[in-house]
């Protein structure tokens, strides 16, 4: 997996799960969520949680996205 940190425009469903995301001029549909988890941010600093999703997109790519406490999204990994 290639590690990246790109801010990402994501359309989420009512449960805050990613539905579609926009990258490199194209919209990608989330076909399925392969794995998801969340991590506590440093409680002694800003706190809050970050949610991670490994998704299969409609271009057959597998991506790792994350959503911060404030609702901002990032692309954090692209699977080879």
């Amino acid at each position: 997996m290639k590690r990246v940190k790109e801010s990402l425009h994501v359309i989420a469903d009512s449960n805050q799960n990613p539905k579609r995301f926009y990258r490199g001029g194209d919209w990608f549909q989330v076909v399925s969520v392969i794995d998801e988890w969340h991590e506590m941010n440093n409680w002694w600093d800003c706190g809050g949680e970050t949610h991670f999703y490994v998704i299969l997109a409609d271009n057959s790519g597998v991506y790792e996205l994350c959503r911060n406490e404030d609702g901002t999204w990032y692309l954090t990994g692209v699977f080879d």
């Binding site: 998801e36 988890w37 506590m40 409680w43 949680e49």
Partner: protein
Amino acid sequence: MKNFAHLHVHSCFSFQDGASGVKKLVRSAGELGMNSMAITDHNNLSAALRLTKAAEECGIKPIHGAEVTLEDGSHLILLAENPKGYSNISVILTEAYMSGDWQNTARALEGRDAARTMNALKRRRILPKVRFASLEEHNEGIIALSGCMRGAIPILIRSGRFGCALQLARKYAGIFGQDRFYIELENLCVPGNAGLLSRLVELADEVGVGVCATNNVHYVKKEDFMIHDVLTCIRTLTKLDDVHPERRLNAENYLKSPKEMEALFRLWPEAIRTAGEIAARCEPGLLPGRKLFPKFPLPSGTTSAEHLRSLVYKGAEARYGSITPEIKSRLEHELNIICTLGYEDYFLVAWDIVMFAKSEGIRFAGRGSAADSAVAHCLFITNVDPIGRGLIFERFLSLERAQKPDIDIDFDARRRDEVKRYVRHKYGTRHVATVCTFNTFKARSAVRDVGKVMGISGSDLDRLAKRLPHVYADEIKTAIKKYPELYNGDISFDDYSRLFEVCHALAGLPRHIGTHLGGIVVSRLPLAEVSPLQVSARGDVIIQFDKDDVEEIGLIKLDLLSLRMLSVIEDSTVSSGIDPDEIPLDDDATYKMINEGGTIGVFQLESPAQRALQGRLGASDIEDIVASIALIRPGPIQGNMVEPFIARRKGLEEVSYVHPSLEKILKKTYGVVLYQEQVIEIASVIAGFTPGEADRLRKVMTRHRSREEMNEIGKEFVKKAVKNGVAQDIAETILSYIVGYAGYGFCQAHADAFADTSYKTAYLLRHFPAQFYTAILNNQPMGFYPANTICLEARRRGVRILPVDINMSVYEFTVEDGAIRIGLKQVRGMEEELAREIIRSRGGSGYDSLFDFVRRVSVPQDILENLILCGAFDSIHSNRKAMLWAVPGVLQGSMILPLIEDFSEREKFKRAYYILGLHPTTHPVELQRVQLNKDNIVTTSCARQMPIGTFVKVAGLVIRPHRPSTRSGKTVVFFSLEDETGLIDVTVFESIYKQCKGVIFTQPMVTVEGRVDLRGNIPSIIAGSIHGNVPDS
């Protein structure tokens, strides 16, 4: 559907891996609607009794279990399905701590290889390992879950070895049976969890076992994650910024509600159902309240009761000469209660132990409420005669209270372990263990631990921790606001506010398991079936329950304590050639010394408060010593009992009794209720309470139970007193005495037992000061004062202190022509073996030079230098500096000493004082005396002779500053100021304490300006100001 229950829960007894107490967990489970809950701490059952009690309170069912660590480091959950399962888990854990088969290990501990075996077990205590063989052998009554992410099966699946996981699951299913082994499912929202769950379900299907949902709970609420994270960092020695596999990624390990669990496991509802079904199958495993005390081995044809009776009467003849009807009646009364409650064997065991000590010449003394028992006295367990002293047996044992007896015996500190070994040998290693303690986070330990985690430097933490008083971890902020040496000191405590917040959160959590000072339990059943056994860092086999828990489980604790003062009595009586039992209790010279406050080194009477009391009290018999011991306690001081007591004792205040019956009870304490036994007697005489009821009244009043309970028993007292012919208003007045004083009451039997030792040590000090102080110095650390103060006091009494001498000193301090010779043990870094070699190689002729010494003794360079610098070679060469310079060469075979000038006297003193922690002739303040004289600063001796009210300036070392509780709640600091002429006690009231910015606690040497005061006939100083700026300190 059965109710969901959490079956994998860690309490704070998972030591640094559980952030919530048992009560909090159980209460929360009840509030969340669960009707049962398991606690599965890491490799221990320490929470078992607390779980049982909390569950009973909350109306839910306790399930006992543990998360065990297997030989490969993987985890497995074991739940007790029934009491057999509980005892099997206990045995499995014992074997894990005790290197496999505990029976064999126990045998090894009794054999020749005991020391080697014990060392191996000490290493293992950190990392117990459960063997498969143990699981196979002791699986009955146990339900097993496959474990968390650190379970072997999840590990194998995550590493892609599904086949191996399958094989292992079949093996477990084979051991426990398909209906007692389950695949554990956790949904903790961590990477790979979803995939793992599917594979685990698949595996369970293939093996044909059920799946069970758990949440691997480590704390009650999500917000407690922070505490758990800090604890994990402490445990794994990591900092907050570090990454460690054992630190949890998120805060999901909290006690989730059944609804939350159902939502998490919506794809596997059967896992939720199974958890409920398992919970329903499990019965509580721990059975409290059993009688587990062993039968004492008896002569054939007799019962325990008969044997006890026979020993008691034989002892009574020896103690009293003839058995009067009064003695007989008392003994019968006690024997009746003891036998009715079934404690004959307990007394026989205690008797047997003291008989062993006696036969081996091990000095001992029974203490505590056992001294209320004439049976204990006749069995020679205690020395106090409770009949002669008018002590009440029911304070110790009563039918109504039916509390377990608690016999405490002090032994010569050096030989206590011989007694413990005897008990182990007599009843078998598998039946005897030491009670554990749970050491909680205190302010200093929390600051050090949490500070490290937060990345604060070691030196800063050391400074910070040392400055803090000995308070609980949640009292740090209060202490900082209260004590001037903290808020006015050189440390900016505001910079550490986050640290203190985290410390506050850790307060009360057990940090680690420890060893009780003297509590042992002896059990009829092998103890491993009652509690897992492990080895403590000190090398004792301990059970995983503390002193409060053991009693409720059904074990009876015997306290075999080590008391260094008994070693002192032994040493000083041997060297002075007297029999301690023949010491007269009416020696005028001894009482005179006590009344002058000259009691430094005397057991229980040496603190400034005690010395000041003695000056006012004017003790003339042992009764006064008993009262002194009871009076100088936080309770009587806060309750303002001391002054009225002294005034009445001296006839300055009238002694009156509101009811004539009280005179007999309170006469010895001048109408003041001082002892707990007096409360019992008053309740019996005035209200006609049975002794047991009266003791309940005593307990309710002294332990500050609920107001409701106090009111209830108070009304009962008045009602019965009135019925007994006492006027209502008088009865109410008497009750007010009890309410007012009982909270401060002290057990007279305990005070009596201590007073005996106190008086004997005072006698020894008065008549054999060199022998007594030699013994005190040999048994350091002990008592209230450091070794240098003891030497100073010895010198003040005309006993010379002789320096360490390479040709004269032995390992210990010795008496030499009426003087005290410092022993080689006092030299920094000196080991006993080396000291013995020095003495052995010395021969008859001694060493004639440094070269001769080095030629005959193989000594490390640093120790040789220390010997030179502390003056040990002065008798054969006068130039310490020359010898020190020559050391490297001498060690290489050279025989040349340089011709250089020696150290100055001041330099010699400083080095010797550092190496010995004391000095034979000189006091640190003496070196400042010329300058102090110029500054009109007088000696403590001079101050002691000045008239009351004289303004003085005195400088000295600060000895034992302390802040006892006061009735007003204000802080008053007491300390002793020590210079070359002796000690003077100083009292510092709050305003002065604040003004001086707490230098008393931060500076070793201070100058006190104040007025001479006389408390009784002991001079002291009331401080007006204190400075830490003694010149050249």
